[in-house]
Every structure is written in C-alpha cells, then in structure tokens.
Assembly symmetry: C2
Homo-oligomer: 450 residues x 2
C-alpha cells in the first residue's frame, strides 16, 4: 500500500475498518512517519478517532512525527478525556507549544481537566457530556439532543442542570424516547442520581458503576455542580489495569503496563531486578538469624533439614492471608476499620490451619529414619516423639504467625497510606521467613537436650 503510494487504498483502509482495528494494525507494522502518511488520507475527525485507539506511549511518539499545526487541529477533535491524558504525558514544553495553537474554548477545557491528579476520578472524566435544562419537554429535549449529539461522548444519559450547573437529575435516552412528547424533563428525570466527586479514587468510581450497572457516572464538585462524566469503557480499562497491578505486585513485579512480549527488555529487567534485589537483601537476614543458632545445628543436624519446610509454611499461609485481604480491600469488602474483626477471624483461621499442617508435620517427623535423626557422629540423642512434637508445634505457630502478619500488614499499610498491594505475598513471605527461623529454633531449644 505504502510502496505503491496507493492513496485510495489508504483511505479505504482508514475509513471502512473500526478505528480500533486500524490503530492496532498501524501500531504493529508501521513507523510513526508511515502512520501519518496513511492517516493523512482521511479527514481530521476520523484521524482523531483512530489516534485515540493508539496506546498512550505510541500517541506521545506520534506527536513528534507531525507538524504542530496539524497536531493542534487533531487535539481539537479528540475526545476530552483522551486529549487531557495525552497532554499530561507530553513533555511540558511540547504540550505548551501545542496548547498555544489550540483554539480558546478547547484550551480552557484542557486546562480544567489536566489539573486533576493522575489517580483521581477527575483525571478519568470527560467534559463533553449532554445536558439540558429542567423545564423543557421531551420533544424539545430530543430536538436539542440532535444538535448536541455529534460532539458528545454519550447521549444515552442526559444530565439535567440548573443555571449554575447544579446537578438536578438524569434522564436516559430510552426514557426520553418512551415518554409522552409533552412531558417536562423535571417530571421525567431520576432525581436520586448516583454521583462521584472529582477527587474520588478511580476504584470507588469503578465500584459504583459496577454496582448500579451504569453507562456513565456524573462527577460533581463540592457544591454539587456537574464538572464531567466518566463512561463505562474508561472504567473497564481502570478495572483491568488495577487488576493487572494487583496481580503483578503479588508476584513481586513492579507494575508493568506494557504488553509482555513488546516491552523493552531493559525497562522490564529494571522493574524486576529492583523487587528481587530488595527481597534478596531482606532475605539475607535469614542467614543472620540462622548464624545465631549455628551451634545448635552443629549439635543436631537434623534440625536444619526441616527448616525449608517450616519457613515455607509461614510464607504460604502468609501469602494466602495477604492475598485474601488485599483483594477484599480492593473490592471494598474490608476497610481499615474492620481490623479487629479481621484479626480475630485470622487468628482462629490460623490456628485451624496450623493444627492441620502441624498434624501432617508430626507424622512425617515421627517417621524420620534413626540414621538421620541420630547419626553416629552426633553426641546428643534425639527422641523421635520429642522431635516430632517440636516440628508440629513449630509448624503450627509459624502458620498462625504467617496468617497474622499476612492479614495485618496490608491493613497497616493502608492505614499509613501506603498501597496495601505492596504488602504482597513475597514481601510477607520474606518477613515471615526471617522471624520463622527464630520461632523454630526457640521452640527446639525449649524441648531438645542441647
């Protein structure tokens, strides 16, 4: 297509396929220069539609590949939330020079949106919502919507505002169409509107939209004035992204937003090695802890053989508890205020789990061959029953300890305003490993004849 310089084909390509498909195909196969050559065959509105479907890194790259004037026209056509996102990512000098070329109204709109911090409802919202006053009839409303519609992100929800833009109600397009033509909007509208604040957490927005099965949710300021709306598709992206972040944190990876196979090797290495190195350094304390008990190991070697088993028990039970609590907090089922209920619940659960695992440990330890338990070179005689009791008790206590640490750390982190996801399984496991060694040897010293 490009080799033949077949402009007709480029135009057909841009205009018949879904913009998402066009963007994917272009991003996969062409350089930024080639993308612009192909896009320039279609009108600017369609260019904007396709441009919005490029991943954000690609959008930034594309800005560099075209003239400022052209980019400014494209920005005027883009949907309000997507262009605010883009400008937030651009080098501030580039963004400013572009903004100077964008027309007055759009410039002001962008300035309003860009000021919201990246992790807030304000950053997700768009300002091109459909709105109407309360006193008009359904028939007038439909006529006015026909004029507004081409510019609006969605016209399926129409917000009813007063002169000061206070949110009075919402009417769905479905109700408008079904209603008698002469009904006044104020009689037709739903007055109990589910709404969020611009400063709210994106997760909260996602929960509200999912809870009430909404297409869009209105965003208001402190005085209940409508400042924007957030549509279901943007929320879906948030949900997927948050889930990926949660999962990545659980697996000890700094969040990697890029596609796995396409991400840059060095960037990914850096994100992975930082986590692994931190955990490794923390895990070095297992050596320090064990060095304290070197004499005991030298005297009863069999003790060291059960160490991986005991500490992994703590790690697993800790991961399990941490995962449950982190996910329950992400879904809004558990809040910091529930810490006492969680603590009680997990203490009981830890005991119930620990007893089960301790029992298995007891049986296995009891069947340790005599040659392993009391090798000829060993001066101390270890009783099988006594030894099994040590293992069972250590497994049980470490399991309870792991469960408690795993359930409480995420809550504590949330309380001190650190993302609870940071208290991920590997983090908890490492912490429990070190402390588990101390528990293990302390119990051994209590029962065995050193």
């Amino acid at each position: 297509m490009l080799a033949d310089n077949d402009t007709a084909e480029m135009q057909t390509f841009c205009e018949t396929l879904h913009p998402a498909t066009v963007a994917e195909a272009l991003a996969d196969e062409y350089s930024s220069e080639e993308v612009w050559r192909i896009l320039s065959q279609t009108n600017i509105a369609n260019q904007a539609l396709i441009f919005e479907y490029f991943p954000i890194d690609w959008q930034v790259k594309l800005v560099e590949g075209t003239g400022r004037q052209h980019m400014a026209r494209l920005i005027e056509q883009m949907s309000h939330d997507d262009r605010a996102d883009l400008l937030r990512r651009l080098n501030p000098r580039v963004a400013e020079s572009l903004l100077r070329l964008v027309d007055e109204a759009d410039r002001r709109d962008i300035a309003t949106l860009v000021k919201y911090p990246e992790n807030s409802a304000g950053a997700l919202m768009t300002t091109d919502y459909a709105w109407l006053p309360a006193h008009i009839t359904a028939a007038e409303a439909l006529d006015r919507l026909r004029c507004q519609a081409p510019d609006k992100e969605t016209i399926y929800y129409v917000y009813v505002l007063d002169d000061q833009r206070h949110l009075l109600g919402v009417v769905s397009l479905r109700d408008l169409i079904l209603a008698d033509r002469q009904t006044v909007l104020s009689d037709l509208m739903e007055k109990e509107v589910v709404r969020v604040r611009a400063t709210d957490d994106p997760e909260h927005v996602a929960q509200e939209i999912a809870r009430y099965d909404l297409l869009a949710i209105p965003v208001v300021d402190e005085e209940n004035r409508l400042v924007g709306i957030i549509t279901h598709d943007d929320v879906m992206d948030v949900v997927v992204q948050e889930a990926t972040e949660d999962v990545h944190r659980l697996g000890a990876v700094g969040p990697i937003a890029e596609n796995y196979l396409e991400a840059n090797f060095l960037t990914v290495w850096r994100k992975r090695v930082i986590w692994l190195a931190c955990l490794f350094v923390a895990e070095l304390f297992t050596f320090t802890a064990m060095a304290h008990f070197e004499d005991e190991i030298a005297k009863i070697v069999v003790l060291s053989l059960f160490i991986p088993l005991c500490i992994s028990t703590g790690g697993n039970s800790g991961s399990q508890a941490a995962t449950l609590i982190i996910r329950a907090m992400a879904l809004g089922q558990v809040t910091v205020g529930d810490w006492w209920r969680v603590l009680r619940h997990e203490l009981l659960m830890g005991l119930a789990l620990g007893c089960a695992l301790g029992a298995i440990g007891f049986v296995r330890a009891f069947f340790t061959p005599q040659s392993t338990l009391n090798p000829p070179s060993q001066s101390i005689i270890v009783e099988p029953l006594q030894f099994s009791w040590v293992i069972a008790q250590a497994v049980c206590i470490i399991c309870v300890w792991g469960t408690l640490v795993g359930s409480m750390l995420p809550i504590i982190f949330k309380r001190i305003h650190v993302d609870p996801g940071v208290a991920s399984s590997p983090f908890v496991a490492t912490f429990v490993d070190v402390t588990g060694i101390v528990f293990y040897f302390s119990i051994a010293k209590m029962y065995l004849p050193f």
Copy 2:
C-alpha cells in the same frame, strides 16, 4: 418498618431507591421471609428488578421462601440472562417444577439459554435484544423501538436481521436519532459488526468489548444467526470475577467468591487448608532432598545457613515470571504458540537477574565472619573466596531455574488444558524449593573440599 407493619413505608422504600440499594439493604438486615414481606408491597416488575441485584446465593435462598406460583411470575419478569443463571443454580427438581408454571414463550427462552455451559459466552448472554429488518426507514425504526423498548435489555444498539435472523448490521440509537428520517436502515447500519460465538470464552468476550468500547456485543451461532447479546455490565462482572480468581490462585487460595467478612468459616477453612496442605506435602520433599546431603551439612555447617536465602531466590524469581506470564495469557498478550519466544526471553532475563542477585550474594558471603565459616569444631577449612563463589553461582543458577520454571509451567498447563493460574506462585515456589536444594548442594560439592 416491619414491626409497625407499615406497608406504605415498605412500598416507598422499594420504589424510590435504586434497586441495587434496596437489594443491598435487604440482604444485609433481613431474613428471606422478611424480604418477601417487604417486596410484596411493590409490583411484580419492580420485585424482579430488585431481585436481580441480590447475590446469586441469596436468590437461591429466596426461591425457597416464597410460593411457586409467585416465583414463576417473577421469573417471567426477570431479565433473560439473570433468570437463566438462577435456574442453572437451582436444585434441578425445584427448577423443573418452577418451569412448569412459567408461560410457554419464557420457558422456551430459558431452555435455550440454560443449555450453554457455565463458562461460555452463551451463559452470559440475554435474548431480549432489540432488532429490526433492514428495509425500514429511520422514522419507522424509532416508532417500532418505542414499542419494543420496555422489554429490552438495551435499545442503544439495534441489530438488523434478515428473515432467517442472520446478523446483517448494527445501528446505534444515537445514529438513528441523528439520521434523516427517511434514510433506510440498510444504508445507515454499520456492516462490519464485531461479534462473538456462543461457545467463546468469557475472557475473549471481555477483551472484544474493551477493545472496541462497546455497550453490548452480539452473539451468533455457526451460521451467523443472532442468538443473543452480552451487555457491558455483565462483562464488567466477569472481568472483576476473573481478576479475583487470578489473584486468589496466586495467593494459594481456592477461588472464594463470597464476600470476605461474610463467608462461612468452615467453607473458607476447607478451601484454604486444601491448598496449604498440598503445598506442605510437596514441601516435605525439601526434607528428603536435604537428608541426602546430611553428611555435607555435618561437615560444613555454614552451608545450611545459606539455604533459606538460596531457595527463596528461586521462589521469588519463579513467582515473578509465573505472574507475568499468567497475566499476559489472561489478557491475550501471550498464547501457547509463543512458548519459544517466552523461553528465550526468560532465559536471558533469568541470567540478567541471576547475575545481579549473585553479585549481592557474593559480597554478603565474602563477609561471613571466620568464626561462622570455620568454627573450631569443624575439621575442613573453607576458603572465603571459594565459598562466596559457590553462593554466587548457586543463587544465579537457581534464579535462572526459577524464572524458567515459572514462565514455562503456566504455558505447559494451558497446553494440557489445565487453567494456567494453577501454576501459581506458591506452586512454582514449592517446586523450585525442592530442586533448588539439589542444585545448591551439587554446586557446593563441586567446589568445596569435602
């Protein structure tokens, strides 16, 4: 409200609040009998609306609490996907006796939906979509929609079908309203419709809806006949649920669908203890592996002090790789066919990570105090440099090994049709723990003077 038997207040409660809010309030505070007493104050259509927002377990419980006749009327009013879900969960005998009371058309519709397996697009879809023939004008279309609308799940997308219900195109309500009244639908409709098959995976449906920012996606059979649609809100639930399942698996919990604080203690204990016990039993092999090297430990005690460090390195790097691959597969970024690219990528990555960690390990091991390295009771003299080299090499190799196992296991599981999420971090970590011990001592035996 109930104590006073204030029927007026019950009615207001049911009719002014959002059905989601009513359902939440009722489920939190009342018994199934009380719920029915309150619901009976509003009309059957509204009862159905509220009923759909109850969690599915609650719905099943509520079925038992009311008469069969009443429940049959309610089922007739429920949205088609929700009632199919409910009937799939009911005791087959109860479901059958209910179905006998439901009217003919609804019964046939339910029978069609119930036959799809639970984890398919068919099970998510609803049959109450809006559709029109291709030859009518926009004005006629709006008139017909006005008649269809009250029953349909969504009228924002209208599907254009021929006599045999083949899917010809889709028109959005927005386009219908904007179009000239005389335009014929066949000229107005989008012919390139994104569609899914009834047998497709729910994850695939979610990806398609997210990719094209759709409100609903049509579901067709093998002959391209429309059999239903899936709406964005049902997909959102799927996305959240899948993410929770993924996260839970990563944390070694059997998927627990219930709310954390409300779930039954015994059920949760069972789900948690099964995983922990399996991992514990698998981890018992660490003891078996170490028992093989008991003599070496007895000769050089310091070797045992580095074991937790070395095996946790394998566990962490394995978790990390497994998490990345499992998530990338869930998002459709990596397929089984990519195994060779993944293998090459992770081999390089593992080496790069292993060298970094090995270097840290080398430094730490080099600074092991002489009294720990060569205690008076030990007959063998261990050289610090030689010992550090053993640790560095073991850490590096175990890290590469963990990365490889973590990245390949999910792909292998997917290949043999086991959910890749089962190859979760704790599973990988346990596997790598056991093999890591063997690597560690083999390397030690190569370099140290036993």
